[in-house]
Subunit: 206 residues, 2 copies
C-alpha cells in the first residue's frame, strides 16, 4: 500500500499494530480521525498518553482499577477464600455478568505463550502465590481458555498451587445451553459425554 | 458493559467512536495498549496529536500530502486535462494500483449525506470549480460509489460541471472479470446487459 504521505504512513502503522487491525482498516480509522476537530483529536491522543499513569492494577488481584484495590476486592460480601484465575479483565466482566459467582478473581494479564515470548514471569503469578500463603484460601478455580497456551498455563499454575492445601477446580466445558446436539463441535460434545453428571430435577429445570 | 475503571471507560469510548469499532473491540485494543512500553504509547499518542498539523491537502486536488502539492499532481507525465473525482484517498490508491489511468484526481473528502449532516459545503467542491475555470480540462470522470449518497453527489456535481464545456463520464459498472454470471448480483448483471458494448477481439483477449 503506497500512501501519499509519510506521516500518514506512520500513523497508519501505529493503528495497524493493534490486534485485528490490518493496514486497510487502519487507514480507514486514520481518515476518520482526519475529519475531526482538533480538540477531539487532542482528547483522543491525551487519553492514550496518560493511559498507563491513570490506570493501575488492583494490589490484590491484578484487576484494572482507578484506586489501590478494585471494585470487586472492595465488596464486603465477596468470598475472599475462593479465587477464580482468569486471563484478563474481559473474563472478569463475562463471569460477573452471569451473577452466579461470589468469590474473588485473580487476573493474570495474559497466558504463557512461548510463541509470543510470554513466560510465567511476564504474568501476575507471584501475587497469586502471595495470596495463597495466607492459608485461608479454600479453592482456586482455573478459568483459562481451552487452548495450547491455556493448558500450558493451567499446568504451570497447577504445579505452583499444589504446594498449598487448596482445592483446584476448573470450569465445566460442555454443550452450550440451547445448542442442538448435532450442531455442537465434536470435542465439546465428547467432553460433555465423558464428564456426564447426575441428573438432578431442580438443576435441569433451571 | 461495566468497566472496572472510569479512565479505562474514557479511552475505550474514544476508540469505540472510530468507524467499525464496537465497545468490545475497543476494549481489546486498549488492553493491548496497556501491555506496551510507555515510550511506544507516547509515540502512538503523539502521532494522533500532530495528525492535523503534519498532514495537509494538495492545493490542487485535495489528495493527502506532506507538501503543498501531492505526488500525483507533481508528476509531469500525468494528463492535467482529465480529472477523476473520487470520494477519498483510498479510491485514488485503488485506481493508481490498476496502472491504467494517467490523468489527475480530485478528492472530495466524502460524499453528500444528509443523514450524516454532510452537505456540498463540507466537501472539496469549490476547488474543482476553480480547476474547471481554467478551461483546459477536457474530461471529468465521476468515480463515486453507487449508493444513494453517491448518486446525490453525482447529480450535484453534474449540475455544477455542466456550466463548463467539458465531457462528463463515469465508471463502467458490470460483472467483475472472472466472476461467473450466475454469481453476479441482479443489479450489476442488469446494468452489464443494458449497457452492453461492441465485441472487440483485442479487448476481450486482454
Amino acid at each position: 500500500m503506497n500512501l501519499p504521505s509519510k506521516y500518514l504512513e506512520e500513523v497508519v502503522e501505529h493503528f495497524a499494530s493493534l490486534p485485528g487491525i490490518g493496514k486497510k482498516t487502519a487507514l480507514r480509522l486514520v481518515l476518520n480521525l482526519l475529519k475531526r476537530d482538533e480538540e477531539e483529536l487532542q482528547q483522543f491522543a491525551g487519553s492514550i498518553q496518560h493511559l498507563k499513569a491513570n490506570i493501575s492494577s488492583c494490589e490484590t488481584c491484578g484487576n484494572i482499577t482507578d484506586a489501590k484495590l478494585c471494585s470487586i476486592c472492595l465488596l464486603p460480601n465477596r468470598n475472599k477464600n475462593i479465587i477464580c484465575v482468569v486471563e484478563d479483565i474481559r473474563d472478569v466482566m463475562a463471569i460477573e455478568s452471569t451473577e452466579q459467582y461470589f468469590g474473588t478473581y485473580h487476573v493474570l494479564g495474559g497466558i504463557i505463550s512461548p510463541m509470543e515470548g510470554i513466560g510465567p514471569n511476564d504474568l501476575n503469578i507471584s501475587l497469586l502465590s502471595e495470596r495463597l500463603k495466607s492459608n485461608t484460601v479454600e479453592e482456586v478455580i482455573l478459568a483459562l481458555p481451552t487452548s495450547m497456551e491455556g493448558d500450558t498455563t493451567n499446568f504451570y499454575l497447577y504445579r505452583k498451587i499444589s504446594a498449598f492445601k487448596v482445592k483446584i477446580t476448573t470450569l465445566t466445558r460442555g454443550v452450550s445451553v440451547g445448542t442442538e446436539l448435532h450442531y455442537a463441535d465434536e470435542i465439546t460434545l465428547g467432553r460433555s459425554i465423558v464428564n456426564r453428571m447426575p441428573f438432578e430435577l431442580n438443576f435441569s429445570q433451571k
